[in-house]
């Protein structure tokens, strides 16, 4: 087989794979504007009634408020914890560092359904389940490793002499942190914040178990799915998609920044 034919076949294969990955996403967007109750082809007429339905639904609004609250708090906590861990890994060597990093990074390898059950049992035991805060706590555990990863990659790029140079010029460790490390890591902090927010915004298994009556948007979708199956799911899904993708793009943009832009003189 010639190289060109192989290349062409691989491109076709890649195309098919992307079709497989994106067809459910496109389906949800297209059918959210389709008038038929059961979505199939040929398409019915264009409509906004599903958006109207969710817009008028107080449950959707309250879930959206909970989701925003949960994801903002989660992103803040996870970014903070992720930064602390990344900085410790960057700056210090110590005994049991392997165990320390394992403790910090393992949560994503535990299936969500198991985390959900364990969290439910534990938070009930502590008497703090069934609140929006319970979801924040659980989501922070799940999201902090991602924040750590992103921030650690950024700290990798710092000239190791910069922090020493700050001390050398009279900065205490705290001032060096504030004036050198944090400004340098800022793009990664923003990136980590957006990404963890997006992860929290989409997570449903753990939230479903520990949220109680404080449903987040994905939990609402899950419960709607168990009953009716009409395209209002798609309308909500499209909104969630737009929110997440915005966050991801912001995260991506900041992740790519080299952070060398001149700052305006104070």
């Amino acid at each position: 087989m010639s190289d060109r034919l192989i290349k062409w076949l691989l491109w076709c294969y890649l195309g098919l794979l992307l079709v497989f990955v994106f067809s459910p996403i496109l389906t949800s967007v297209i059918f959210s504007f389709n008038s038929d109750r059961f979505p199939t082809i040929p398409l019915g007429s264009f409509t906004l009634k599903w958006y109207q339905t969710i817009f008028d639904d107080p449950d959707v609004w309250s879930a959206a408020r909970t989701s925003i609250f949960v994801s903002l708090c989660t992103a803040t906590l996870a970014t903070f914890i992720g930064f602390c861990t990344a900085y410790t890994d960057y700056r210090y060597g110590f005994r049991f560092k392997g165990a320390y990093l394992a403790l910090a990074l393992l949560p994503p390898t535990i299936p969500l359904i198991i985390m959900a059950l364990a969290m439910l049992a534990w938070l009930s035991k502590l008497g703090i389940s069934g609140r929006a805060w319970s979801v924040v706590i659980a989501h922070t555990v799940l999201c902090a490793p991602f924040a750590m990863g992103i921030i650690r990659l950024r700290l990798q790029q710092i000239d190791p002499d910069l922090e020493s140079a700050a001390w050398n010029l009279g900065a205490s460790e705290w001032s060096a942190m504030k004036t050198i490390i944090v400004p340098f890591a800022r793009p990664a902090l923003i990136s980590a914040f957006c990404l963890t927010m997006a992860v929290s915004f989409d997570e449903f298994a753990v939230a479903w178990f520990v949220a109680g009556l404080n449903k987040t948007i994905p939990v609402l979708i899950l419960e709607v799915l168990q009953g009716t199956t009409d395209p209002q799911i798609y309308a909500i899904g499209t909104f969630v998609f737009l929110t997440s993708i915005t966050l991801v793009i912001i995260a991506q943009v900041f992740f790519m920044t080299r952070g060398r832009k001149p700052t305006a003189p104070a």
Partner: protein, 361 residues
């Protein structure tokens, strides 16, 4: 009598099992330009970092103006450093970089701007005040790094291979800037480098280090003409080192049998030599004379030319004696021009007994 400004008293630094600095004994006087030289891994940078407080000595004591400073944090010392990587803060502009030290000392914004500007002017980079660091050339960055270190008017400036990233022309210019600056300010410079030309061009005294130990401390001339060991003699470059045995000892003179034949030298007055003793002789490449006719000198040998190399106006010739000993000879270009050279032509190499240095040990 007051103690010298900086004293390393039996200082030892270990990293795990590896010894980076071994029982160092060193004194630096106020206002001195001291260069620490050695190949990479010899402990010169560790020495500098201990002075800045970035490493803590494992044993021994470092004193600044008679005060033990081992336990002082880097931020509590007045020992700013110019880094090999320059370590300019990339997200701050030029003046923000320069005023950083003042900001950390709580100096008012107006005052620190004023003082930072003075230094920018002094370093002739005032027009770049609000430039971003990555928009500067290598030489300009160098000047920002100097201004940033000096703005707090410290008693000591540490420099860690600051010129290693610059191209050759700029290095010579910055050497001039540094020398002048050090004389004007009258403060102590401790300058770490692997480059002999930088050290010899600027330093009052040179420290040669190897494997964590000091091999020799002295003026550039002393280190060059009277190396304390074979290591130093080889390290400082263009030397020919001949092994031989002492043959003839007279009051002011001695003759050593070498691969070149008998070599007459001036007898060193600081140590005893005996007949039959093995010694090493140093013949500086620039002390050897060349001629096409047989010269009238005690030490002379007929050689043939092997190769020549030109660096600037200096020519380095490699010649070979009938016994197969290779000698390096360094001459100015215009001196060479007077002896028209051709491949395989007979050449006479000669030198005076007073230019032969007998290595101690």
């Amino acid at each position: 009598m007051a103690e010298p400004q900086i004293v390393f008293d039996n200082v030892m630094k270990r990293f795990g099992d590896a010894v980076a600095v071994d029982r160092m004994q060193l004194e630096v006087a106020e206002g001195e330009f001291l260069a620490i030289m050695g190949s990479s891994g010899c402990g010169k940078t560790t020495t500098l970092r201990m002075l800045a407080g970035l490493e803590t000595p494992t044993e021994g004591e470092i004193r600044l103006n008679g005060q033990r400073i081992n336990e002082l944090k880097p931020s509590e010392r007045e020992t700013p450093m110019v880094w090999q990587s320059l370590a300019l803060f990339p997200f701050l502009n030029v003046i923000e970089n320069v005023e950083y030290g003042l900001r950390m000392r709580g100096v008012e914004a107006d005052e620190r701007k004023r003082r930072a500007r003075l230094w920018l002017e002094r370093m002739e980079i005032a027009e770049f005040e609000t430039r971003a660091i990555d928009q500067l050339s290598g030489g300009q960055k160098q000047r920002v790094a100097l201004a940033r270190a000096l703005v707090t008017e410290p008693p000591v400036l540490l420099l860690d291979e600051p010129l290693s990233a610059l191209d050759a022309n700029l290095v010579v210019r910055m050497q001039g800037v540094l020398s002048r600056l050090q004389k004007e300010l009258g403060i102590t410079f401790v300058y770490v480098t692997h480059s002999q030309s930088e050290a010899f061009a600027m330093a009052d005294r040179v420290v040669i280090m190897s494997k964590g130990r000091i091999e020799q401390v002295g003026t550039p001339r002393e280190v060059y003409r009277q190396p304390a060991s074979r290591f130093v003699a080889e390290f400082v470059g263009s030397n020919n080192i001949l092994s031989g045995t002492v043959n003839n000892l007279q009051s002011g003179e001695l003759v050593v049998d070498t691969g070149l034949g008998p070599v007459a030298a001036v007898r060193p007055d600081d140590r005893e030599l005996t007949r039959g003793q093995a010694v090493e002789l140093v013949l500086s490449a620039d002390n050897l004379e060349l001629s096409t006719t047989e010269p009238d000198s005690v030490n002379r040998v007929a050689c043939k030319l092997v190769s020549e190399e030109f660096i600037g106006t200096v020519v380095t010739l490699l010649v070979e004696s009938p016994g197969g000993v290779e000698l390096r000879i360094q001459k100015q270009q215009r001196d060479i021009d007077q002896v028209s050279l051709e491949e395989d032509m007979p050449l006479w190499v000669s030198w005076s007994p007073s230019s032969v240095y007998v290595l101690p040990g």
